[in-house]
Each structure stands twice: as structure tokens, then as C-alpha cells.
Symmetry: C2
DNA sequence: CGTCGGGTTGATAACTTTCAAATTTCGTGG
DNA sequence: CCACGAAATTTGAAAGTTATCAACCCGACG
């Protein structure tokens, strides 16, 4: 694999210019590859001493299961994301991570990551920046669950996901491929699968967004952004740095 | 002030045994004190190069304002909490932090914190542990907003807050003083103020919890825990380590 | 060809918000 | 210490949003 084009490299590269040395160190982290398939947990709640992973390919979800069997998806993980950066340091994992497509991931042991950080502090900064950005997205997710109605929430969520994918070259301005089922979407957005379906229809009929056959199309990006009250800075802040 | 009894010291002390050196370094971080009063933001969305704060006294909230003027509270900050640990490192703040009581906080500049970490790695571990624990609580908050109904969500939230306060010696097993208004509570729980009022009445009439006159009483702790599906490990995991 | 998971739709029920108004609490100045 | 006004709490009624239940459709796959 060419480390220059890995999703993580693209993402970090949008934040800082990576030197050859940075790239070398980054490549070291990708030594151990592992494949996961849907139905097999990558990380299970309660497990100890998990390694972290860098998602190279495929999508995963992190979630919690409630007493009544429903689940709440906390975050969607896409290529270039770090998984379990926190649980690397701290006791048992408090949530599950499960692939929803076939997933290729690099296994990162705690020691290797710290070594890498020692060898290039700039890489450490970039990784922490990425982690912080992901955390900001969890916060935005929380805000949506608390204060946006179903349609705004759905629109906002799909826009944000697009912004995130664009960072790693997996989305275009007018849409992206999205392997999420409506059921998964409903578990992420705190809605019933039935209602998500109605919301998607509404957004489609109003000509703003089409979610169909594993593809999201922004049919009227500007109107969608206005409708969802989406902060385009998520896109603008980062895109220009790529140059 | 006696650093031994500061809320932060209590909290970190529940995780690791702090040496005299650790305590010295911790005391250094408390040099610059600052007072905030309700109505004046401690951190404002969009500001750059914020310092971080250690909350010594009083309560604060971090929140985002939406287009329609409603707000979603992301987290409640109580004594012993670090504020803005992330925004210390990364660009502009993406949320507001505002005191809801008179607040005393120590100002922590990025450099001072890194110095402290260099001088005692164990302190760094403890601080990161605390940060990670707070993050886990934000995730639990998100899960509640997505998948718990109003009553469960309220009960769970107040139990969690209690667990958190207990760590810093501000709660007993059967309750705690709580300066949150019902309106603030509603903004945290994604409900209307009217509905929160009804939910609190329900919990009170069922003999599980009383929220009144700035005080939360767990009238039937076990039943409340069962009702909210609260993970008591939040309490048990930490309390024994104090010994 | 039959089954199965995902998607779609209508009808009804449950939960939560909004609106309006009364009541209580609390800080402040007299 | 009391009076006053502002803010917080409380309650009822009506409206709005979302969930649940029940079918039905459809394409993938053995």
C-alpha cells in the first residue's frame, strides 16, 4: 500500500504538511493489518487492554446496547479514523465497535503509538487534532439528538458525514457512497426505522437530498445546508489547507 | 487553600495515590485564581487561544446555541473538573462555557500544564484518566438523548451527576445539593421546561427521587437505579480506590 | 421458487411540546 | 422586617411529533 494515499495520511495532511520522516513513522504504524467482517465485533464492551485501530477500508459503528435491546450508535467510523484511541489508555472499553462492511484496519499497540509520537511530535499534534475533531462531531451529534427535529437531524447528520468523507477523498461535493441501512441510520439518529424512512422521503420529495441504493446525493446543497443549519466551516476550514 | 482537599486532588486521588511531588506540582497549577459570575461567559464559541480552567468552586455549563435560539447543554461542570482541556490545544472553541453559580477557577496555561506533565508523568496519566471519564459521560448523555424516554433520562442524568459529585466529596449516598434550575435541566436533557417539571413530579410521587429547593434526594436509591438502568459501576469502580 | 432482510406505506397510539395562566420563591430596596 | 417585581415552578388543555403495529413490496440468494 502507498502510505501517501492512505485515508489517514490524507486527513492528517489536510492539517499539517507531513515530512518524509512523518510519513515513515506513519507507515510503521500500518505494519499489522487485520480484516473484520460484519457480525464480528472489533471491540466489545467490557474487554480489557484493547489495541487501537486505524481504519483503512470499510465502515464501522460504535454503539451501546440498552436494557431493552435497542441500541444507540454514538459514532460512525470511516476510513482514516482512529478507533479506540482512548480505550488504549484506559481500562475496559465502555462501548462496542462493529464493522458494517468488510473492514481493513491496522492494529496499533499503545507502545508503538507512543514511540511514534516521540519520534515526531508534529505527528502527535496532528493525531490529537484529528481525535479532537472527531470528538467535536460527537458533541454535534449530541446537540442534534437533543434539539433538532427528525428531518433537520437527519440532514445535518448526512451533511456532516459527507464533510468527514470529503477529508479522506471519499466524497464529492454533491454526494457520496454510503453503505448504511436505514435501520443503522435510525439507531444513530435516535429514531425508529419507519420514521427515518418517512423523513428520507420528505427530503427527497422536497428536492434536497436523495438517500438510495447506498448512495447519498445532495440534490440542492445550499438549501439543504440552510435547512439543517449546517456549519459549512466544517468543510471550508479544512479544504483550503489541502493545497 | 489546602491543595490536599481541593476537589481535583480528591478526584485524581481516587485514581492514583498522589506523592508529595505530585501534590506540589498540582499546587503550582492553582496559582492564578479567577472569579466568574453567572451571565458572564468563561469561554465563548469562536474565541481563540483560550486558557483551560480547573473548577475549584461553583458550577458551570457547556452548551451550544442553535439557530432558533434554543440551546443544548452538553455537559455540566462541577468542582474538580477541567474546563477546555481540548480547546487548550486546538484552534477556536466550538462551544460556550458559562457559570451558573459564582465560580472560582484556576487558570491553566498550556505551557504550565505540559511542564507539570513532564515533571510527573503519573499526574499526566491521572489527568487524562479524568478527561476520559468525563468523555465517557458525554457519550452516556448522548445515549440517553437518543434512546431513553424523558423519565429514565432524567433519573439517569441525576444519578450520574451524583456519582460525579461523590468523587469530589460533594454528594452523599442519598443525595446532593444541586443549583440547577428546571430550565437548565431541560436544556441538558433535550426536553421542555414544562415537561421536566411533570417528570420530576412523577419521580417524586413514585417515591424515587425528589428535586426541590436546590437539593436532589434519592428517596429510593435501588429502585431509582433499576428504573434508570444506571450502571452502578460508575460508583463502585472508583469509591474503593479511595481507601 | 421460496425465503429473508430491507424498504415502504397507512392507521393508531404514545410521548412531548406549546400555549396560557396561576402560584410560589427569592433578591432587593424601603 | 416587609413589600414588590422578576424569575422559577406548577398545572391544564390542545396541538404536534414520533413510535408502534400491521401489511405489502422487492430484490438477492440458495
Amino acid at each position: 500500500m502507498n502510505i501517501q494515499n492512505s485515508p489517514l495520511t490524507r486527513k492528517l495532511g489536510s492539517y499539517v504538511v507531513l515530512s518524509d520522516n512523518d510519513l515513515d513513522v506513519l507507515a510503521q504504524l500500518h505494519k499489522r493489518r487485520r480484516i473484520f467482517v460484519p457480525g464480528v465485533d472489533m471491540i466489545h464492551e467490557g474487554q480489557k487492554n484493547q489495541p487501537a485501530y486505524i481504519l483503512a477500508n470499510g465502515w464501522a459503528i460504535s454503539f451501546k446496547i440498552l436494557r431493552d435491546g435497542t441500541r444507540q450508535i454514538v459514532d460512525i467510523q470511516v476510513p482514516g479514523d482512529f478507533l479506540g484511541l482512548r480505550s488504549l489508555l484506559f481500562r475496559t472499553s465502555d462501548h462496542n465497535i462493529e464493522p458494517i462492511t468488510r473492514v481493513e484496519a491496522s492494529v496499533v499497540q499503545a507502545g508503538d503509538l507512543f514511540d511514534a509520537f516521540t519520534r515526531t511530535p508534529r505527528l502527535a499534534t496532528a493525531v490529537l487534532w484529528a481525535a479532537s475533531r472527531d470528538e467535536a462531531m460527537v458533541v454535534e451529534h449530541l446537540v442534534g439528538l437533543g434539539r433538532r427535529d427528525a428531518a433537520e437531524r437527519t440532514a445535518h447528520f448526512l451533511l456532516e458525514l459527507g464533510a468527514r468523507l470529503k477529508l479522506v477523498g471519499l466524497a464529492k461535493l454533491d454526494g457520496y457512497d454510503c453503505p448504511l441501512s436505514q435501520h443503522v441510520l435510525s439507531d444513530a439518529l435516535g429514531l425508529s426505522a419507519v420514521h427515518i424512512n418517512r423523513v428520507l422521503r420528505q427530503l427527497r420529495e422536497e428536492g434536497m437530498l436523495t438517500f438510495r441504493n447506498g448512495h447519498v446525493s445532495f440534490d440542492d446543497f445550499d438549501r439543504l445546508v440552510a435547512f439543517a443549519d449546517f456549519d459549512v466551516a466544517y468543510l471550508d476550514d479544512y479544504a483550503p489547507m489541502l493545497k
